[in-house]
């Protein structure tokens, strides 16, 4: 190699490696790039984003294997799009510092491009939470222009949860992508649902703008330091809606076509089945942890990670939503708008719609799974070391007769409501009793 060649290589390598940013932003955020973000989320953001080996164009997925909780999922959507499109990503420093955290950070100089972006994401994950989210986003007006794929939903501090809106269907129903703390432990697969979360849950404890709940969107870099009420597009629209009406009002504004009753029933059943499967996975994770810890009592942190009272309440809410939908159909003598098979399946789950759900469930007999069952699945039994079949009708009966246990120190069969007496002297934290509003 000649001397001149060597010097050129040296200069180039030095320039490239020295103080290099996580990525260099060559574009800027504007209406067009925001639109691209929305389309990208719609097409690419999904539960397998961190699981798949390859992207849609066949190139390796450099984000494969990252494990994220709900806040990480939200931030990932923005960071990754910005990275892939050479746009800046900038957020407030959740530790209270005045400088902004951005793609311009140079801490990972010596790493390869893939390692740099992954390290940056992990750094962001270590800083952010649902608490930091309101500083980087603002509540939006309720309209088709402002609630779009890429928007996020945040709950109040009481329930500290968040979702990314992947899509809004013509019926005004959103397709949401999210994860939970247990989800982050269990693997790179995210979760999805096709319905608005319950407004009473989203705004629980604070229905004012101070609660930061509702649909929000990302702030521009120049507006990160502004008080939220001065951010362009800030709106208090959502706080003037009663929480119980919030999801219906949003759906009404966003819908361009009406959902048929059959479509509604199918969607609600799909959501419940997904919730049940997620509960099964969560309990499986909890059991795997207990096994690895030789079945000792969980610490408070472990207990928080593996207990499921919020998840169980969401499941109860979804089931009640389906039941109320069915009740309305019956009241309006509109049962025939459902196909015969669906109607028969739902009658097994909700045999006495004139009673409260608790009374109906008390009167209900144990259901054995069959080919006609809805949400047929299996849960593990530690005592029998086997998988036991269960379906929606049986889970609903056990849930509303308080048989399901959200206590993570219980064996899986007890968490799924098998009639077994267990002695458990482990400490318990928080209120595990199921509460719901019909």
């Amino acid at each position: 190699m000649s001397f001149s060649n060597l010097t050129v290589i040296l200069i180039l390598s030095f320039s490239l490696s020295s103080f290099s940013e996580v990525w260099t932003a060559t574009s800027t955020w504007n209406a067009d790039t925001e639109k691209e973000f929305s389309i990208w989320i719609q097409k690419n953001w999904g539960k397998d984003f961190f699981l798949k080996k390859e992207t849609k164009d066949g190139s390796p997925n450099i984000f494969q294997g990252l494990r994220v909780d709900c806040a990480d999922t939200v931030y990932s959507s923005r960071v990754i799009f910005a990275y892939l499109h050479s746009l800046p990503f900038v957020m407030n420093d959740p530790s209270g510092g005045k400088k902004l955290i951005s793609n311009s950070m140079t801490r990972w100089d010596s790493k390869t491009e893939k390692d740099k972006i992954r390290s940056f994401l992990i750094y962001v994950y270590n800083l952010v939470s649902t608490k930091s989210m309101h500083g980087d986003t603002y509540p939006v007006k309720v309209s088709r222009e402002t609630i779009v794929p890429g928007s996020i939903i945040l709950t109040t501090e009481k329930n500290h949860h968040s979702w990314v809106i992947k899509n809004i269907f013509p019926t005004g129903i959103p397709h949401l992508v999210f994860n939970s703390t247990v989800g982050a432990y269990s693997g790179p697969l995210l979760q999805e649902r096709k319905s608005w979360p319950n407004g009473d849950w989203v705004f629980e404890g604070n229905v004012t703008p101070q609660g930061h709940a509702g649909v929000r969107y990302w702030r521009k870099e120049s507006e990160l330091k502004l008080p939220v009420w001065q951010v362009t597009g800030y709106s208090e629209d959502q706080y003037s809606i009663k929480p119980a009406k919030w999801k219906y009002d949003l759906q009404k504004v966003l819908q361009s076509t009406t959902e048929s009753n059959q479509q509604t029933a199918a969607r609600l059943i799909e959501n419940i089945c997904a919730d049940i499967q997620q509960r099964i996975d969560a309990v499986k994770e909890s059991e795997a942890f207990l096994q690895s810890a030789t079945y000792r009592c969980m610490t408070e942190e472990e207990f928080d990670n593996y207990s499921t009272p919020s998840r169980d309440r969401r499941l109860a809410d979804e089931i009640i939503y389906l039941r109320n939908f069915l009740k309305t159909l019956v009241q309006e003598r509109n049962e025939l708008s459902l196909d015969e098979k669906t109607w028969q399946q739902l009658k097994i789950i909700f045999p006495q719609l004139d009673l409260t759900i608790a009374s109906e469930s008390q009167n209900q007999k144990r259901t054995l799974t069959s080919s006609a069952s809805l949400c047929r699945t299996k849960h593990h039994s530690r005592r029998e070391n086997t998988e036991k079949s269960i379906d929606l009708a049986e889970i609903k009966r056990r849930l509303f007769t308080h048989r399901l246990s959200s206590n993570p120190n219980h064996p899986p069969e007890v968490r799924f409501g098998e009639d077994i007496l267990v002695k458990n002297s482990c400490p318990s934290w928080g209120n595990l009793k199921l509460t719901y509003v019909e």
């Binding site: 001397f3 060597l6 010097t7 040296l10 200069i11 030095f14 320039s15 020295s18 103080f19 940013e21 260099t24 420093d93 530790s95 209270g96 510092g97 005045k98 400088k99 955290i101 951005s102 311009s104 950070m105 140079t106 801490r107 270590n126 800083l127 939470s129 608490k131 501090e157 009481k158 500290h160 604070n206 004012t208 703008p209 101070q210 502004l226 008080p227 009420w229 001065q230 208090e236 706080y239 003037s240 610490t299 408070e300 942190e301 928080d304 207990s307 009272p309 919020s310 934290w429 928080g430 209120n431 595990l432």
Partner: protein
């Protein structure tokens, strides 16, 4: 390679380093790295901590609505007695003595034994319905940004004062940031951010009225 060539190479390496450095600063960077420039930047940042903007009753720039003017719009009867956001917040607290103050977070900015900036954060949250205080610690690196410090789980959740003093040198705390909120049994609620003794931001939601200020810029508007 001859000695002469080695000297040329050495000069070129230095030159390229300088070129890269200049290019970085002029074209790429928004982040400061560890150089003399960084020290200047850090010094400025420390000044920022000491002069954290506060809401005052002085006329702001660029058409900013001052505290005094805005208070007169929202609560004209208070303008005689109250001149600062601090007084306003204290007045609200005394009028709503039954309101329970809920802390959102407390940040302590302090120096470690080597004089390095450290930030401690106590985040008040709930886990499955019960209150939890989560303790987080960050070293501030040369770029002025935090680097999370791993804290063992028993110290991380609901730490007592003894545990906190293991990590925080309270004698060197130069800034304390706090955010809290309170709701009165009536229809009034307030959210407040404080830096040391100054109120840097507050939002009051009262029936039909929203009064809020952020670093000298205030707003009074009709509420829901």
């Amino acid at each position: 390679m001859s000695n002469k060539n080695w000297v040329r190479l050495f000069i070129l390496v230095i030159a390229s380093a300088l070129t890269a450095w200049l290019a970085f600063h002029f074209f790429l960077s928004r982040t400061v790295v560890a150089t003399t420039a960084l020290k200047t930047d850090l010094a400025n940042q420390k000044l920022d901590h000491q002069t954290t903007p506060k809401i005052t009753d002085e006329t702001g720039e660029n058409g900013v609505n001052t505290f005094k003017e805005t208070l007169a719009k929202c609560f004209p009867h208070l303008t005689e007695a109250i001149t600062t956001p601090r007084e306003f917040v204290d007045n609200w607290k005394s009028l709503n003595s039954t309101a329970v103050e809920e802390t959102d977070f407390i940040h302590y900015f302090f120096k470690d034994k080597k004089g390095q900036d450290v930030r401690a954060q106590i985040v008040y949250t709930t886990a499955e319905g019960h209150p939890v205080r989560e303790f987080k610690l960050f070293r501030v690196l040369d770029d002025g940004l935090p680097d999370p410090v791993e804290i063992p789980a028993p110290d991380r959740y609901n730490p007592n004062n003894t545990t906190l003093t293991k990590y925080i040198d309270f004698n060197t705390v130069f800034e304390t940031q706090k955010k809290w909120s309170a709701k009165s049994p009536g229809s009034s609620s307030i959210e407040v951010e404080e830096s040391n003794l100054d109120v840097t931001e507050f939002q009051l939601f009262q029936k039909n009225i929203i009064f809020r200020c952020h670093e000298g810029d205030c707003e009074c508007k009709a509420g829901n």
